[in-house]
């Protein structure tokens, strides 16, 4: 598959549904691995970087790897800034990898469930993204690919410390599992802060849509494990899943409470947001996310019928700056983006819904 083919389609997590899809948008598992014979990222020369990428090319050509699916390797420097940014917005590569254009590469499987980042902060970062809550499924796929890679490559592994990583916060299992959740009920009922504080006390972290340092726009929160040493992968995943299940229960209870006590106000808010998205000529990213969150809540509660539920996760990616520029086919100034964003949302709602 060519870069363009990848750029023009949406990954599985955006298109399909999974367990608890009304609240859980996606599950991501990422494994950090390093190769024993190369220095870590900070001291990696361009030649080292090239030779790691060549080793990966060889692994991709092996029969064992071909059994795992159709993979394609891209050197970051062969892509334009906007193209790289599109993959960031699809959550297939990290912002760090996109910035490291000279030394890095990434491998995508045709379904865009699997991506392997090469020469990010660690030599390898194996990432799996699945729709809905599928923590163990994601881990199993990641672990199987990890086994294939390890059968061909010499990993940096220490008996005591486990998988050695560039940053001491990832050492041990090297696993980071995150669950992306849409929590408008908890935000509207002002319970979110209390719950987020509780989460941080059980060794988990909460972040916004685009990872470290990003805002929780559109009531979307990413919950992930922080500890990687001294707990087995199964314990880490069971802990995360347990907490996510509890948040799910609280979110559902909050939604019921809103419908019971404030139905009219809530429905007014939902329809207003729908109206704005359907007719606005110009909309900023933050407002778009908030309105899309309201509409998605309306779909979940049955207030809005005839609009597919996937609209939130699709539009929250399609209306990001790089995607907008990719769709438009030219660079857009920030002001122009707001007009274009509104147009895309209008078109999408019109083509998908039976309401207008």
């Amino acid at each position: 598959m060519s870069v363009d083919e990848f750029l023009n389609k949406s990954p599985t997590w955006m298109r399909e549904n999974g367990p608890e899809s009304d609240i859980v948008i996606s599950t991501r598992v990422r494994l950090a691995r390093n190769l024993a014979k190369y220095p870590f990222h900070m001291l990696l020369t361009d030649r080292d970087a090239d030779s790691i990428i060549e080793e990966l090319r060889k692994v991709l050509a092996s029969t064992e790897m071909k059994r795992e699916g159709n993979f394609e390797l891209f050197r970051s420097r062969e892509l334009s800034d906007v193209e790289r940014q599109v993959f960031v917005e699809k959550h297939l590569i990290s912002p760090t990898l996109a910035e490291e254009e000279r030394r890095s590469a990434f491998i995508l499987r045709a379904d865009e469930i699997v991506s392997i980042m090469v020469n990010e902060e660690d030599h390898l970062r194996i990432q799996i993204i699945l729709p809905g809550l599928q923590v163990h499924e994601a881990w199993q796929t990641a672990s199987r690919l990890d086994d294939v890679l390890e059968s061909k490559l010499e990993y940096a592994f220490d008996e005591k410390y486990g998988y050695l990583t560039s940053c001491p916060t990832n050492v041990g299992s090297g696993i980071r599992a995150s669950v992306m959740m849409h929590l408008p009920g908890l935000v509207l009922t002002n319970q979110i802060n209390r719950i987020l504080t509780a989460i941080s006390q059980v060794g988990l972290v909460v972040r916004g849509l685009y990872g470290e340092g990003s805002d929780a726009t559109g009531n979307i929160f990413q919950i992930s494990n922080q500890i990687t040493l001294g707990q087995s992968e199964d314990e880490i995943l069971a802990n995360l899943k347990g907490v996510v299940k509890q948040i799910l229960d609280h979110e559902r209870a909050a939604r019921n409470q809103l419908v019971r006590d404030n139905r009219e106000v809530l429905e007014d808010r939902i329809w207003r947001s729908y109206g704005i998205l359907a007719y606005a000529q110009k909309i900023e990213s933050k407002e778009a996310m908030q309105r899309l969150s309201d509409v998605r809540l309306g779909i979940d509660l049955g207030t809005i019928k005839g609009v597919p539920a996937n609209i939130l996760k699709e539009l929250m990616v399609l209306t990001r700056p790089a995607f907008l520029q990719k769709i438009t086919g030219k660079e857009l100034a920030p002001g122009e983006r707001d007009w274009r964003r509104a147009a895309i949302i209008r078109e999408r709602l019109r083509s998908e819904s039976n309401l207008l």
Partner: protein
């Protein structure tokens, strides 16, 4: 509104600065804001994981300053450099910094030993090495107790495993 700096692009970044009660407003475009970035970047990057980590690392030093700070002989990174950037230079750094690492890992993870997945190939060798250590100490015991038949069996097993490791 146009950017105050270049006067060309539209201003999309707006600052309000209050210095001793004097309020001034600044309107910039994205690229000029990035150039003048002092205010923006400091708040965004100031509290990164790096600075947090190096905070933890430096916190460690007073108790241990007697010996010269260790250096990784493989990649040349010193512990002081590591404590500034919060990143290791290579896999061997873990060995060279081992004594200083334990308190740090305990702070970050609440633990200092891995208990999860072990890679099949590399891990297989680790298992063999562990087995070898065990057999060698058994052999020593057998020799001391003059159980020579048992010792011969152990010696053969050890040779076999050593050959496996290459």
């Amino acid at each position: 509104m146009k950017c105050q700096e270049c006067g060309q692009k539209p201003a999309t970044v707006h600052f309000t600065k209050i210095v001793q009660g004097d309020k001034s407003e600044i309107h910039l475009c994205e690229s000029c804001a990035r150039e003048k970035g002092e205010w923006m970047n400091k708040s965004a990057a100031g509290f990164s994981i790096n600075s947090l980590l190096s905070g933890l690392l430096n916190f460690e030093s007073p108790a241990n300053t007697v010996a010269a700070p260790p250096r990784c002989t493989t990649c040349g990174l010193t512990y002081t450099q590591f404590s500034q950037v919060g990143r290791f230079g290579c896999a061997d750094c873990y060995n060279h910094f081992r004594p200083r690492l334990e308190p740090l890992l305990r702070k970050v993870h609440g633990s200092t030993s891995h208990v999860g997945k072990v890679p099949q190939r590399t891990g297989g060798r680790i298992k063999t090495r562990r087995e070898l250590d065990e057999l060698r100490s058994k052999l020593q015991g057998a020799v001391q107790q003059e159980k020579f038949e048992e010792a011969a069996v152990l010696r053969d097993k050890i040779r076999e495993l050593e050959q496996q490791l290459g």
